[in-house]
């Protein structure tokens, strides 16, 4: 397996959506190719860091303000469509 071939399979490998045989080939490649090992590892870390970052969390006060606005507009829409 070449590095390019490895890279093509990287997403399926990280998502664990790959057949056993291809997985074994990829893991064999990782045994001896340091570059692919590092790319694989740091890509996995990239995903984990974003997933765990709580980037763009909705603050409670804004959350209830938005919800009130949504519900009030829904009620207006309902009243209009019933009129």
């Amino acid at each position: 397996m070449t590095c390019s071939e490895f890279l093509k399979e990287l997403t399926d490998y990280l998502d664990n959506t790959i057949d056993q045989r291809t997985r074994a080939e990829l893991e064999d490649h990782l045994q001896w190719c340091h570059n692919c090992y590092v790319v694989c590892n740091t890509t996995k870390r990239t995903i984990e860091i974003y997933r765990d970052s709580e980037l763009f969390e909705l603050p409670d006060d804004l959350r209830s303000r938005l919800r009130s606005a949504i519900i009030s507009k829904c009620k207006q829409h309902k009243a209009k469509s019933e009129a």
Binding site: L10, N41, R45, L55, E57, L62, I71, H77
Partner: protein, 208 residues
């Protein structure tokens, strides 16, 4: 409201009861759906628009549109996937308004050579996120993802942050499954490469 008492994250079977009730005009049932998914919609909206005010507008408009169009929701997909599709379209529309000089679409590409190995391959510190304060880290992550085109941000946030399946992401973004996979790979590799300069191992870092 009546007998329907649901919390965020409860099974989809309860959800179809809420959706049916909301479709029949039960605003209380719809409010339960809002409570269940408002955080997710906000995160998705802000990842795509990269703007707090736009994200707030997207949350409001997406839920209102969903309520208004529940009659068209057939129940063949999950309510959440259908809602995300509405929210992504709203977010892209906001971006277009903000950046009329540029084409904003899911088709915008990034310049990478998909078949080639990243040029700079340096290992990262053992716990790279601990090199920075939480505020600094959020700033780095936010600015880094901002560098990707909106369509790639959308695929990344749906698959890797929100945990939608490839099939759900394809449905929400109206893309083919191969297109989702290809964009996801490139988005992940781009983010990895951009984070390199912040996270790579420096002299004096202890190894593992």
């Amino acid at each position: 409201m009546g007998a329907i008492e649901s919390k965020v994250g409860e099974p989809v079977s309860d959800e179809s009861v809420l959706v049916d009730a909301a479709r029949n005009g039960d605003v209380g049932a719809f409010e339960q759906l809002v409570r269940r998914y408002d955080r997710n919609v906000f995160r998705i909206a802000q990842h795509i628009t990269q703007n707090r005010e736009d994200a707030e507008d997207v949350v409001q408009d997406a839920f209102l549109k969903a309520f208004q169009n529940l009659g068209q929701f057939q129940g063949q997909s999950k309510f959440y996937t259908w809602l995300v599709r509405i929210a992504v379209n709203e977010a892209l529309m906001r971006l277009r308004r903000r950046r009329p000089e540029r084409t904003v679409s899911l088709d915008e590409d990034i310049k990478t050579e998909e078949d080639s190995m990243p040029r700079e391959v340096a290992d990262w510190s053992p716990n790279p996120e601990q090199l920075y304060s939480q505020a600094e880290l959020k700033d780095i992550l936010s600015k880094t993802i901002q560098g990707l085109p909106p369509g790639f941000r959308a695929v990344f946030v749906l698959r890797d942050v929100e945990g939608l399946s490839t099939e759900e992401t394809a449905e929400a973004l109206n893309l083919s499954i191969p297109a989702v996979k290809s964009r996801l790979l490139r988005a992940r590799l781009q983010l990895r490469e951009r984070l390199n300069k912040f996270f790579k191992r420096r002299n004096g870092d202890s190894g593992q």
